[in-house]
Amino acid sequence: MRDERSYRVALVADRYVNPEPGEVDGLAVLAAAGWGVMQLPDAGYPAEVARPLLAEVAEQVEEFSRRGYGFILVGERDGLAEALAHVGVGVPDGIAPASAAELREFLAAQPAPPATAAPQ
């Protein structure tokens, strides 16, 4: 079986995964561009619900980071920086796009992930 992964992962604020009508559909843009998505908890969740979810996101980002996968941030999420810092990972380059075109342009400008340069 041929593995089709892109080695590119976007941490994505909930509002770009479940956009309101008329808002930027980040998930559609990322899917078309071949990026994997790690969804951040909905901003409406209380802290006691969001905090453990963010901790799990951070732990998984740590593994992607260690393995040279490329990752970016689309949108923002309170508590993400702290959760990432807890696993020793910085907040990646990011964008809060006002349009799908702006997001596509940002994605196109990303460098090749280190993992794609290493022997697989």
Partner: protein
């Protein structure tokens, strides 16, 4: 509609075991159906990714069924159940979308081979698929049960012999429309 809590890899095929990614990133055949029908999407963590890493071997349920992995899954299940409980309190319908054949994320089909272990060589076509839930799904159902919550389930079926995208879609739509009840 309601909220679909989906397996991590349905939004991020980069989390799959090596040689297991069916596409670059988002597995659209499932996600598109959910969005077309107005379901909100929430992604669950991948139980295997942080625990066994991106370089993990393909494995069956028995290989993951350790006390440490159960504790890991219980931690994830507690976090996700908190989110599900919050949505239930808002009056939302909940559907759990897993990955059939997975040792962790199977919802009606998991993988089993009590002899599997040691040097990783076994013939293709070993009959490892069996009815049942993966370990994470089992722990999530246990945690939801403690909270008095029941959810409907559906699964992505790439690992199942004879996988047919149209059949997969029809089954998912049936669960979403509650025609399975």
């Amino acid at each position: 509609m309601g909220v679909a809590f989906v397996a991590h890899c349905l939004l991020n095929q980069n989390s799959k075991v090596l040689d297991g990614a069916h596409c670059a990133g988002v597995y659209s055949p499932i996600i598109d159906v959910l969005r077309e029908q107005g379901w909100r999407i929430e992604q669950m963590p991948c139980p295997e990714l942080a625990f066994a890493g991106l370089g993990r071997f393909w494995a069956v349920r028995e290989q993951y069924d350790t006390a440490a992995f159960r504790r890991h899954c219980q931690r994830l299940a507690t976090a996700v159940a908190g989110a599900i409980e919050a949505r239930v309190r808002q009056g939302e319908e909940i559907v759990l979308v897993g990955v059939e054949g997975s040792p962790s994320m199977g919802v009606t089909i998991t993988s089993s081979d009590p002899q599997r272990g040691g040097r990783p060589a076994w013939p293709d076509g070993s009959p490892e698929l069996t009815g049942g839930e993966g370990i994470y799904v089992e722990e999530l159902h246990a945690e939801l049960g403690r909270r008095g919550i029941t959810v409907r389930v559906a699964g992505e079926t790439h690992a199942i012999p004879g996988h047919d995208e149209a059949v997969q879609r029809a089954r998912l739509e049936s669960v979403l429309e509650h025609r399975d009840a």
